[in-house]
Symmetry: C2
DNA sequence: ATTTTTTTGTACCATTTCGCATTAAATTCC
DNA sequence: GGAATTTAATGCGAAATGGTACAAAAAAAT
C-alpha cells in the first residue's frame, strides 16, 4: 500500500502551505508513506469521474495508495474528503484562469483563451473527458447539502463576476457597442462554459465544442 | 405495500400506449397492485433528485409502493429502470415544449414561453428544485455508459435543432438581422437552458433565473 | 536501549445493497 | 369447485460499504 508514481522529488512542490515552511521541521513519529497533495489529487480525479455516491472508500484507498484509516485520519470522512477535493479543484481552475482574466488583451482574444483553457480542463482525463466538477457532481449534491451548495453558488458567481468585469472593461475601451449589457453578456459567457462542460461529458468532440465557443464569442462580441 | 395517492381513476390516463388499447383485455392471474405509469413517475422523481448511485432499490421500492421483486419484474434491474425513467422524462419535457416551438408567435414571445416552462420544470419539486435530468444525472452517467450517453447526445441535439429552426424561421420573417447565425444562436439558447438548470439546482431564486433568461433573450434577439 | 509519538496495515463490525428463490394470494379459465 | 396463471410478500444470501479498533512498525527524544 504505497503511493505509486510519486512525483520526482524535486518537481512540483505543492507551494500551497504557509509560504515559508522550509524543510520538514523533523516530525516525530513514523513518517507518512504518502504525499497528502498527490493523494488529494487522486481523490479529486475519482470524485470527478464517478461522483460522490459512486466513489467508494475502497476506490479512494486504491487510487491514493493510502489505506482507509490513513485516509480517514488525513482528510476526515468521505464527505470531508469530497469537499476538500472540490476546494482543490476550484483552486486549480481559478489559478489556471485568473491571469488571462487580468491580462491586457482584446476581448475576443481573452475569451478565446479562457474557453481554450476550459476545454483543456474538461476534455483531459485518462478514462474519458472529465467535465467540470461544479457542473457534474457538486451541483447534484448541492440540492441536499447546504455546505456544498454554498461552494457551488460561490463558484458560479465568481465566474459571473470575472466575465462581467471582462465585458465592462471592454465596453469602456470601446470594444462593445453602447447598448451592451456587461452583466447579461457575462451570464451568457458562463452559460457557454456550462454548456461545453455538459457536452464534453457526452463525448462531443473538441472540434464541435470549439465551434460552439466560436459562435458564442461572435454573438457576444458582435460582428467583427 | 400499496401505491398510495393513486391518481383519481378518471384523470390522467397515460395516453402513451398503442393509441387504441381500449379497456383491459382481461388479464389472467392476480391483478397488479400498482399502476406502472405512476410507479415510473415516482422512480423518475427519485433518480432525478439523488442520481443513479445514491438511489437504492429500497428507496425506489418505498416510493413506488412496489416491493423489489415486483419492481424487478416490471422494469428490469436498476439500470433499466433508470433508463426508462430518463426516457419518460424526455418524453414529458418534449411534450411540454413542442407546441410552443411550433406555435406562430414572435421570436421573443416564443423564447420567453420556452424558458418559462423550463423554469417550471427545473424549480418544482417537494424537496427542493429538481433541475434537469439530462444535465444533473444523465450527463454524469454518460461518461461511462454508452447507452445513456447516446440518449444524452440525442437530447442535446434535439434541443439545439428545435431552437435552430426557431431562429431560422424568425430570420426568414425578418425578426433578426441579416448577419444572424441561427445555429450559433440556437446553441446559446441551449446554453441558457443548461445554465438555469445548474443554477436552479444551487437554489438560485426564480427571480434571478428570470433575469438571466431576459438578459439572454435580449442579447440573442438584439435590441428591441 | 528504552520510551514516546505518529503512522501503517490488518481485521473486524454493523449496515446497506442488489438480486433472487420461495411461498402465499388473487384472479381467470375449465 | 379446481387447475392454471399471474402477481405480491417475505425473506434469504452474498457482496459491498462506511467506519473503526488494535497491534505492529518506524521514526525521534530521552
Amino acid at each position: 500500500m504505497v503511493q505509486k508514481n510519486k512525483q520526482p522529488p524535486s518537481a512540483a512542490k505543492p507551494q500551497a502551505a504557509k509560504a515559508a515552511a522550509p524543510a520538514e521541521p523533523k516530525r516525530r513519529g513514523r513518517p507518512r508513506a504518502y504525499e497528502p497533495d498527490v493523494a488529494l489529487g487522486r481523490a479529486l480525479e475519482l470524485f470527478r469521474r464517478d461522483g460522490f455516491a459512486a466513489t467508494s472508500l475502497d476506490d479512494l484507498s486504491a487510487a491514493t495508495g493510502m489505506n482507509r484509516p490513513s485516509l480517514y485520519g488525513a482528510f476526515g470522512d468521505k464527505r470531508a474528503l469530497y469537499i476538500k477535493s472540490y476546494q482543490r479543484y476550484r483552486d486549480e481552475a481559478r489559478a489556471a484562469m485568473i491571469e488571462i482574466f487580468r491580462a491586457e488583451a482584446p476581448l475576443r482574444d481573452r475569451l478565446a483563451r479562457i474557453y481554450a483553457i476550459a476545454l483543456d480542463i474538461y476534455l483531459s482525463g485518462a478514462s474519458g473527458p472529465r467535465g467540470c466538477f461544479t457542473v457534474m457532481t457538486a451541483a447534484s449534491e448541492a440540492v441536499s447539502d447546504p455546505d456544498i451548495r454554498a461552494m457551488v453558488l460561490e463558484g458560479l458567481t465568481e465566474m459571473d463576476k470575472a466575465f462581467s468585469t471582462c465585458f465592462r472593461l471592454a465596453k469602456e475601451r470601446g470594444e462593445l457597442p453602447e447598448g451592451a449589457d456587461p452583466i447579461a453578456l457575462a451570464q451568457l459567457a458562463s452559460a457557454t462554459i456550462h454548456t461545453i462542460a455538459i457536452r464534453a461529458r457526452a463525448h462531443v468532440p473538441r472540434k464541435e465544442l470549439e465551434a460552439i465557443v466560436q459562435g458564442a464569442i461572435d454573438v457576444m462580441c458582435g460582428p467583427k
